[in-house]
Each structure stands twice: as structure tokens, then as C-alpha cells.
């Protein structure tokens, strides 16, 4: 009996450890954004230097799209960029980009060197639009439905796994939704 008393702390710790281990598998970047199911913030961003089109809220009317915040200063964006290029080349989805707090010209150099996955791209040098989106860091990606509502927010670099597992099914589902109830 008294022997069991000395085992109690270990037993308690093992139970805690299991909770911690399971807790680790939960994705901490899953942050229920306050903007989920809300309409896109209103913005009208100028084009970045060297790219013709800008990017405004109404440009995405009726489309399911990814809005990706990036910056040439952002190290994780270097990792993410090839994944976006791959999605743009192989999948049928609009990717819109917002160049967040970049130097003039830096965004254009970035796209020139690494290719341009974005259909639309806007320049947000002051970070004003990023505040409306509640961005916590770069890169961050939002998915919007055909009615222009934000349906999903992903913080951090998109990896092929995350695209295949989480984002792509959602994009397809949103397309379906739009077709069923136009």
C-alpha cells in the first residue's frame, strides 16, 4: 500500500504527459479568425511596380479564391513560394497576392526571380489592409467563397500536405456550394 503512494506522482505525470502529447498534435496555427463567414474587408490596392493589375475587393466577385499575404523580406515565404507556383500551374484556382510592407520594387524582383503564381496582386506597403484582415505574420492565406465571404484562414507557409489535406478539399467544396445555390 505505502509503495503505491510513492508511485502516485509518476502515475499522475504519465496522465499529464498523454494530454501534452495529444495536445501537441493539435494544430496551433488553427486560429478561429473573427472574420470567418464575414465579407472580405473593403480594399483597393495599387499594383506593385512592374505588374499591371492591382487588386481590389470587387475583383473576386463570384470566385472561389486564395488570398495570400507575402513579402520579399519573409523567410517562410521563400519556402512557400514554390508550393504556390505548383498550385497555380496544376490546379484550377485563383490565387490573389498581397505584397505586405515591402520596399518599392522588391515585390517585382521577387516575382521576377521566382515566378508569379498570382492572378491578381496588390501592394500594401503600409500594412493597412493587412490590419483589416487581422494578419499576425507572413505568410498567411485566406480562402473566400463565391459570395465574397472569408471561409478559412491559414497562418504559416502552405506545404503540399496542407494543400492536399485541408485547402484543396475546401476549395472544391466551396465551388460545389456556389454551383448548387447560385
Amino acid at each position: 500500500m505505502s509503495r503505491m503512494v510513492f508511485l502516485a506522482p509518476l502515475a499522475l505525470f504519465v496522465v499529464l504527459g498523454i494530454y501534452f502529447a495529444v495536445g501537441l498534435t493539435r494544430d496551433p496555427s488553427y486560429m478561429p479568425s473573427a472574420l470567418i463567414d464575414k465579407p472580405l474587408p473593403v480594399f483597393d490596392l495599387a499594383a506593385i511596380e512592374g505588374v499591371e493589375l492591382g487588386f481590389a475587393t470587387r475583383d473576386l466577385d463570384g470566385e472561389v479564391a486564395l488570398i495570400n499575404f507575402f513579402g520579399s523580406w519573409c523567410i517562410s515565404c521563400i519556402v512557400e513560394h514554390p508550393v504556390l507556383m505548383d498550385i497555380a500551374a496544376r490546379e484550377d484556382v485563383i490565387i490573389a497576392g498581397i505584397d505586405w510592407k515591402d520596399e518599392p520594387g522588391a515585390g517585382a524582383r521577387w516575382l521576377e526571380q521566382r515566378g508569379n503564381p498570382y492572378t491578381l496582386i496588390g501592394d500594401d506597403p503600409t500594412g493597412r489592409t493587412a490590419i483589416d484582415f487581422g494578419i499576425t505574420g507572413a505568410p498567411e492565406t485566406f480562402i473566400i467563397d463565391r459570395k465574397g465571404r472569408i471561409r478559412y484562414r491559414f497562418a504559416g507557409p502552405i506545404t503540399p500536405l496542407i494543400w492536399k489535406r485541408d485547402l484543396k478539399p475546401l476549395v472544391e467544396q466551396l465551388r460545389q456550394e456556389g454551383d448548387d445555390a447560385p
Binding site: 506522482p9 504527459g17 501534452f20 501537441l24 523567410i75 503600409t126
Partner: protein, 662 residues
């Protein structure tokens, strides 16, 4: 080049730590003794690594990823240095550095013994685990190619002196408990936890506790003076993470005393030592690994979390398994009377550990709920206040009489007879406080009465001991120097605790708050003052524009002074900060902040009067001072039982004390 030197030093330190950990188990006496040298070498190597990173930050070497992500060429030099530990990788390196420095300090102090070799070995194992963690998952020396032209800078809110020095103090506290932990494990391995063991551990436990006390106080000071929300403690997971090891550590520094004096409570003390360090680990790491708070994905790397959990499982799980096997061998030598100093300390421990458990449950409850049901919730201040404060209140009830009880067998009635004036004063002040603060909460007045009982009892006991009531002042003051340091430190710390509680009750429960839209010329009254908004002006700053409001503080028509408060807007980061206008007085803080301007009604002004706020930090300072006094070695007196001299460094003190007596 600096980065490569650092990397190499870190790898060598890892190998040294492995040797330090294994040596006492594979070899005989010569290898045991070599742990000492290993600890010193490891300390030197980590220091080289840390200095290399510091150099990279100081010269803004943007080919190092860590510098790019956390620095900027235009950042003030002091913050370039504090930026070294203002990020995950660097703070881990600082952690390892402090761990190694504690090990090196232990290696050079005291006489060498098997216990110490074992302790250094356990330290070596912990160090090896953490250096491996740094090398494999959080390398601060990683390069980036091509090197960017400039860095990403640090949040301006974090570029304040209070925040720059507060993490190292917390780390000194957290990591200090690694030594008491190592001693506990070494005690379990050797099967000897006795008075000599307690004498060796106690100064380290006190040192860690003092640093943690200072670290927590600095953090709350920063929150109060810099964040401009008028509060000082929010029970958020990061704060709780530092508070839990503090509570366990407070229990530990009390129970260690019982082992030292009576050779009792051994098993419990060993368990507390394991708990204090485990909670430090949980505090430093689980909060960062993303298990608890939803930090940004950029900082979270699943492999890090797994590594941390593995370390925690090895350290805590391993030590608790050892505890289950070996603790039954630790026999208490002395009998145990419930009414005695050791009985009172046990009671104090029960309250502290229960309070710690309530904080733990509140902090981790969201995690438990998430794991079981998948919903995200948060536990707020009401839970913590309702569950934590009653235990603190009960602890205060027993503090003064408990501390006045004799060891072995005390008499409660005698203790209360001795301290009745403090009890009377507490009752009177409680009633007066309830009357003055009406219709404020009566429970707060009760708390104030308890604080007076605890603090007043400690002061009264001190006065009686130095015969202040029956001998001339000079002679009575002279007796203070002859008191045992442990007693003197305890008394100072207990008075400090009472002072902190008065401050917390004042600023927490008795605060008055007025929020009003004001135009220049308007007056609001708060805390007995009339505060007049004189003017609001636009002020350009170096990298921000500010709206500065000037208030005049008046009482009875006479202007006492001006207070200014600012709202700053940083256009580049699109960030807004508040500089509160604070007038700190002994009886309370007048605390003004400026809010948004409304189109029609003027500026939103928030005015607080926080009674006794400054006493929180004065009290915390007293507690830390008390811990320091108790840790300092007492001059040996001939009346005391001759003890084995365990240090060469005390020889000088001992000789001078003997000289004074003969």
C-alpha cells in the same frame, strides 16, 4: 566566422556534458572528480557560444538567420544585445548558459563529495538534453544565403528596458531549480537525504527563488507601467507558467528547513524539488511549444514540441520513477508533533501546493478540454481569484503563529499569547478598512486584516526576540546582528509578503476607475483629486506621432502638479501604444490614460486611483531581500551544535565569528 565558432563550441559543450553525465557511473573516484572539471569546461564552451551569437547580433551579421529575424541595423545597440535572448533560439542558448554557469558555480564551491559528483552528473545530463535540443531543432547559428540587406526588427512594445532584463531573471530562477532537482535525484541515487544534504541544497533553492521572485515582480511592473491598461496581473498562461514554479519553490525553501533541522519531511522535500524544476520546464517550454497558446505557425515547429516533451518525459518521468523506487528508503529520523514549527511548515506546504494545483488546473484546463472535446476555451481571472485566493488567506491565518512556534514541540497558546497585539491590530485595521472602503468588498478588508496579522506578527516576534520592549534601543538593535540569518531572512520575507498583499488588495480590489469623454477644461475627480484636462497637442516623435494630453492635478483648488499622457501611433508598423501618466505616491497611484477622440464629445480619458500599488514591488523587493539574507551563511556561534564544516569559503567567516566571541 563567429557563428561557426559558436557552433563548434556548442558541439564540444554537448560532448562535455555527455561525459559529465556519465562519468560517475562508469568510473571510480578519479572519474567522479573529473565531473568538476567537465562542469567548468562545459560552462566555458557555452559562454563562448553565447558570446559568438552576441557578437553576430552586435555587428548585425545578416547572414545569420537569427539576426535577420530579430534585429535591424538601425535598432539601438542595447536592444541589439537584448535581442540575443529576445527570440526562441537565443533564449534557449541563454537557458543553456545559465544552466552551465550554475553547474560551474557548484563545481567551484564547497568540498567535493560523492553527492556533489552525482549532482553534477545529473546537471550534465540535463545540459546534454538541452544542448541537443538547441543543436538539432533550434540552431541559433544557422546561416541564410543570400544574406538579406536588413533585418525584420523587433516589436517596439518589446523594446523597453523592463522587458529586456526580465527574461534573464526568470531564467535564473527557473534554471536555479535544476540544481535543487539534481541534488534531489542525487539524494535518491545515493539514498542519503539528511541534514548535510539540506544544508548543501538550501542556498541554491533560495537563490533560485530570489531570482524568480525578482523576475515575476519585474514582469508585473512592466505590465503595469508600460502596457497602460492599469492592471498588474492577468493570470495568463505565460504569467502562470512563472508563478507555478514559484509556488512550488516557496514550499520547497520551507520544507528544506525541516530536513535541515529535524531530518523529517525528506520524501516530501525531494518530491517538491522534482516538482519545482518540472514546473519550470513546463513553464519555459510547453507555453512556447504551441501546446498551450496559439502562437503563430512561424514559431511553431512540431519536431520542437516532440523534443521538448521527450525531455520533460525523461526529466520528470525518469526522476519520478526513481522516486517511486528509492523514496521508500528515505526514513525520517525524528518524530513529528502536529503543533510545532515543522507542523506549521507542513501546513504551509499543503496550502502552497494546493494553490499551485489550482493554478495548474486553470492553466491547463483549456488543453484538457481541447484534447477531449476539440473545443477551444479560455479560463479567466474569476476562476483563479475564486480558487487561488482562499488558500492564500488560510496560509496567512497560520503564518505568524506558525513562524513563532518552536521546533519539535510548540505551544500554540503561548504563540498567540505572545502575538495578541498583532491580532488586535489586524482586527482593528480590518474593521477600519471595511468601513473606509464601503461599499467595497468586505472580503478585501478581511484580506488586509490578514496581511496585518501576518506582517505585524512577524514584526512583533522580531521585536520580542531582540527584547525591544525591555532593553535600551541600541542594545536591542545590536541583537539583530546576532539573530540566526535564517530567522532574519524569514522575518523580512514574511513582512514583504504582507506588504505585497496590501498592494495587491489596494490596486486590485480598492481601485477606483473613472472613464469620461473630456474636452480641455473639463474636470473629473478620482481618488480625492480633481484632474483637469488642460490641453491636447500633436507631438511628432522620432518614428511616431503622438497625441499628448496635459492634465493638472488639483486638490481643494490648489494645483499640485501636472501629468502628461500620450497615445503614440507608429505609422510603419501601424501600431498604437499608450504612455500612461502615473503619479506614484505611498498611498496610491494616480494613473491616467488617453483614449480615442470622439467626433462630438472630446477625448476618452480613463483615470484610475490604485491605492498602495507601489507597495507590491517594494514588498516583492523585501521578499527577495529576505531570501538573500537567509541564503547568506550565518556566522557560526559556539552555542550551536558543532557541524561539519562543508566549505572552505566559510572558514574566514567562522574565524572572524570565533574571534568576536573569544
Amino acid at each position: 566566422m563567429a557563428a561557426e565558432i559558436g557552433q563548434l563550441a556548442l558541439i564540444l559543450a554537448f560532448l562535455t556534458a555527455l561525459f559529465q553525465g556519465a562519468a560517475p557511473f562508469v568510473g571510480g573516484a578519479p572519474l567522479q572528480a573529473s565531473t568538476r572539471i567537465a562542469a567548468l569546461v562545459q560552462g566555458g564552451l557555452i559562454l563562448i557560444a553565447f558570446l559568438s551569437l552576441t557578437y553576430a547580433h552586435a555587428v548585425s551579421d545578416f547572414s545569420v538567420v537569427n539576426v535577420v529575424e530579430n534585429s535591424h541595423s538601425a535598432k539601438p545597440f542595447a536592444y541589439k544585445l537584448s535581442g540575443v535572448w529576445g527570440n526562441h533560439e537565443g533564449s534557449m542558448l541563454l537557458w543553456a548558459l545559465i544552466l552551465a554557469l550554475y553547474g560551474a558555480a557548484l563545481a567551484v564551491s564547497n568540498r567535493f563529495s560523492t553527492l556533489k559528483a552525482m549532482t553534477l552528473s545529473v546537471q550534465g545530463m540535463i545540459a546534454a538534453a538541452f544542448i541537443a535540443f538547441i543543436l538539432f531543432t533550434s540552431n541559433p547559428f544557422a546561416r541564410v544565403f543570400p544574406a538579406p540587406a536588413d533585418g525584420m526588427d523587433l516589436n517596439p512594445l518589446l523594446q523597453v528596458p523592463g522587458l529586456a532584463i526580465h527574461p534573464p531573471f526568470l531564467d535564473l530562477g527557473y534554471v536555479g531549480f535544476s540544481l535543487t532537482f539534481a541534488y534531489a535525484v542525487a539524494g535518491l541515487i545515493t539514498g542519503k537525504v539528511d541534514a548535510a544534504w539540506a544544508r548543501a541544497v538550501r542556498p541554491w533553492a533560495l537563490a533560485a527563488w530570489v531570482f524568480l521572485t525578482i523576475g515575476i515582480a519585474l514582469g508585473s511592473w512592466w505590465a503595469y507601467y508600460e502596457l497602460g491598461w492599469g492592471g498588474f496581473w492577468a493570470w495568463d498562461p505565460v504569467e502562470n507558467a512563472s508563478f507555478m514554479p514559484w509556488l512550488a519553490g516557496t514550499a520547497l525553501i520551507h520544507s528544506i528547513r525541516v530536513v535541515e533541522k529535524r531530518e523529517a519531511l525528506k520524501v516530501w522535500t525531494v518530491l517538491l524539488a522534482i516538482m519545482a524544476f518540472s514546473l519550470s520546464l513546463v513553464g519555459t517550454f510547453l507555453v512556447r511549444s504551441g501546446v498551450l497558446t496559439s502562437v503563430h505557425a512561424f514559431a511553431v515547429d512540431p519536431t520542437r514540441g516532440v523534443f521538448i516533451l521527450a525531455i520533460l518525459a525523461a526529466v520528470t518521468g525518469g526522476s519520478l520513477a526513481l522516486f517511486a523506487l528509492r523514496a521508500p528508503l528515505l526514513q525520517s529520523r525524528a518524530g513529528f508533533q502536529p503543533v510545532s514549527r515543522e507542523g506549521a511548515i507542513l501546513l504551509n506546504n499543503v496550502f502552497l501546493v494546493t494553490a499551485c494545483a489550482t493554478v495548474f488546473i486553470g492553466t491547463f484546463y483549456p488543453l484538457f478540454v481541447d484534447v477531449l472535446t476539440g473545443t477551444r476555451i479560455s479560463v479567466g481571472a474569476p476562476y483563479f481569484n475564486a480558487s487561488f485566493l482562499p488558500f492564500m488567506a488560510m496560509m496567512l491565518v497560520f503564518l505568524a503563529p506558525g513562524a513563532a512556534l518552536a521546533w519539535k514541540k510548540g505551544r500554540l497558546k503561548a504563540a498567540i499569547d505572545r502575538l495578541w497585539p498583532a491580532l488586535a491590530a489586524a482586527g482593528a485595521i480590518g474593521v477600519i478598512a471595511a468601513w473606509l472602503s464601503w461599499p467595497g468588498p468586505v472580503i478585501a478588508a478581511l484580506g488586509a486584516g490578514l496581511a496585518i496579522w501576518a506582517g505585524g506578527g512577524a514584526i512583533l516576534d522580531l521585536l520580542i526576540r531582540i527584547k525591544a520592549f525591555s532593553s535600551p534601543l541600541g542594545a536591542a538593535l545590536g541583537r539583530i546582528a546576532t539573530l540566526p540569518r535564517a530567522y532574519l531572512g524569514m522575518t523580512i520575507a514574511h513582512i514583504g509578503l504582507a506588504v505585497v498583499i496590501i498592494g495587491v488588495i489596494g490596486a486590485g480590489a480598492w481601485r477606483t476607475e473613472v472613464v469620461r469623454f473630456m474636452e480641455p477644461g473639463d474636470v473629473i475627480s478620482v481618488g480625492g483629486f480633481d484632474v483637469r484636462l488642460e490641453r491636447v497637442v500633436e507631438e511628432p516623435g522620432p518614428n511616431y506621432t503622438a497625441e499628448r494630453a496635459v492634465f493638472s492635478v488639483e486638490r481643494g483648488g490648489a494645483t499640485l502638479r501636472n501629468l502628461t499622457t500620450e497615445r503614440r501611433f507608429y505609422p510603419v508598423r501601424a501600431m498604437q501604444t499608450t504612455e500612461a501618466g502615473i503619479w506614484t505616491m505611498a498611498r496610491g497611484d494616480l494613473y491616467l490614460t488617453l483614449g480615442e477622440k470622439s467626433e462630438t464629445a472630446g477625448w476618452a480619458v480613463r483615470a484610475f486611483f490604485n491605492p498602495f500599488a507601489v507597495w507590491m514591488w517594494i514588498g516583492a523587493g523585501l521578499m527577495a531581500l529576505g531570501g538573500g539574507v537567509a541564503a547568506a551563511r550565518a556566522p557560526r556561534r559556539l552555542t550551536r551544535r558543532v557541524q561539519t564544516v562543508d566549505s572552505a569559503s566559510t572558514a574566514a567567516v567562522a574565524t572572524s565569528a570565533q574571534g568576536a566571541i573569544t
